[in-house]
Symmetry: C2
Subunit: 104 residues, 2 copies
DNA sequence: GGGAAAAGATCCGTAAACGTATCTATCTAA
DNA sequence: TTAGATAGATACGTTTACGGATCTTTTCCC
């Protein structure tokens, strides 16, 4: 309970978890692919830790995604591309929904 | 000269620098907006340091951008949206070109 | 029921991202 | 010339992400 659990990190972690679940992979498998330890990947998924840029990219790629910088003006357009029918949330940054990825 | 300068970080830093230049802002202004120190923002821009997830988002937003997780399958499509006519680089992650943003 | 696999959780030690301070180099304008 | 602003470059101390090890809890399948 030390330090507030940044909502941004929790949001990011939930995106990772969702993608991992959809891919049917274990935390250990992702950690292995991303070259980090399982406890550390767990911290990232739960929003308990703010991963470094390099780690972030490695995790994203391990989950079949890429981290991209998008001009704010284009965010809504891309958002709608990712989710056929989405809701207008707060501040989406970190968005991605892996519909269902089958096939290694 | 200690530790190899990760090309991924250099690439990311160049994107930030490019966006900052286009916006006509100083390193100090971005650092202030992103709640980090100027030396540290400089490290990020030069690729000398791997910023944390929270710092990364703050810097991106200070530059009028958002960090987004994109399924790899959609990367090319989004890439072409960002750059009218782009080249097929290596591994683009971190992409964004701020055409020219005027108006404080 | 039993056992394996996945996840949660906590410790310790190390490496690196952070802030602050300080100094120099360059460039532009008065 | 002299300022002033911007950027490059240290150094040092604090915070925290990281690996590795260990243990418990929860699923889930036989």
């Amino acid at each position: 309970m030390t330090s507030a659990p940044d909502p941004l990190l929790k949001d990011l972690g939930m995106h990772f978890r969702k993608a991992r679940m959809a891919a049917g992979l274990s935390q250990e498998q992702i950690a292995l692919r991303a070259n980090i330890s399982r406890p550390r990947y767990r911290d990232i998924e739960t929003g308990a830790a703010a991963a470094r840029a390099t780690t972030l990219v490695n995790v994203a790629r391990a989950l079949g995604m890429e981290m991209m910088l998008i001009p704010q003006a284009m965010v809504p357009a891309i958002q709608s591309m990712l989710q056929p029918a989405a809701d207008d949330d707060d501040r989406p940054a970190f968005t991605s929904d892996v519909e269902e990825e089958e096939g290694v």
